[in-house]
Symmetry: C2
Subunit: 155 residues, 2 copies
């Protein structure tokens, strides 16, 4: 599996962009007073489908800061009770390139509205998730529900 | 905080290497039959001090694969019971550049010997860690001990 390549801004030669997977965050946002539900966005760009709000971590930004920023950009919500859940790193989890995501859970407050990379936004009960979910987000939510109910983390 | 820059291999122009923090793994290795001890390495390169074995995650490699590879390279040990603990992402945690690490715990089996980036290797009881530890590894081990004993994860 080869890392992505960019062009040199001066001469156009190919330059291997990074030797590491790209780092992202995704956030399991519970609406305040709906702890058994999650806010999903419908993606504007491929891979299409319902997904957890999230995105790339900027250089110089902590994971928690990235989670708050991405949640705000894509849903308009402010996060409280932000907790780290789990990292997912299967090289095939994103069809575009190798990304590793660190997943957080949080409560979201404010008026939710889809923005930025999100075309639509909807609240789903954790026991009635949509079928067409992007990436490994269905598995992540399954792991999260199991951990919430039984205290068992994925191996 | 600015991302690292490399030179174009063709014309030498500066190219911003990545917009994301670099991703690493670190491993809390317990020697088999010594669950209350941890194997630390003395670093060959700055920042000097005792540290958890670990290193950069390669593109196309899962976090767990990186943990097994780095443990083998630096300590000669094979890992079993590899479990994800926690990610640490403070932009100041590595003085060289912004790295985000995902920490694993594991049992190590085989004959331990320092190699690669490790100048020396030693087993320390978790309640008697050395003072001169590199990065945020002392904090990581403190969090880990607290979680092991009391089940409390860092916020």
């Amino acid at each position: 599996m080869k890392p992505p390549v960019i062009s040199c801004p001066q001469c156009g030669a190919p330059v291997a962009l990074q030797r590491n997977p790209a780092l992202t965050v995704d956030i399991i946002i519970h609406p305040v007073q709906e702890p058994a539900s999650v806010i999903l966005i419908q993606r504007r760009h491929p891979p299409l489908g319902w997904a957890l709000p999230g995105g790339f971590v900027d250089y110089g930004e902590s994971l928690e800061q990235a989670a708050r920023r991405e949640a705000k950009e894509e849903t308009g919500l402010d996060l409280t009770d932000v907790r780290q859940f789990r990292a997912y790193s299967d090289p095939a989890r994103d069809p575009r390139q190798h990304t590793v995501t660190v997943v957080f859970s949080a409560q979201g407050s404010g008026r939710a509205h889809a923005a930025d990379d999100a075309r639509d936004l909807q609240v789903f009960p954790l026991n009635a998730l949509p079928e067409n979910m992007a990436f490994d987000h269905h598995r992540i939510l399954k792991d999260y529900v199991r951990w919430s109910l039984e205290g068992i983390l994925p191996s």
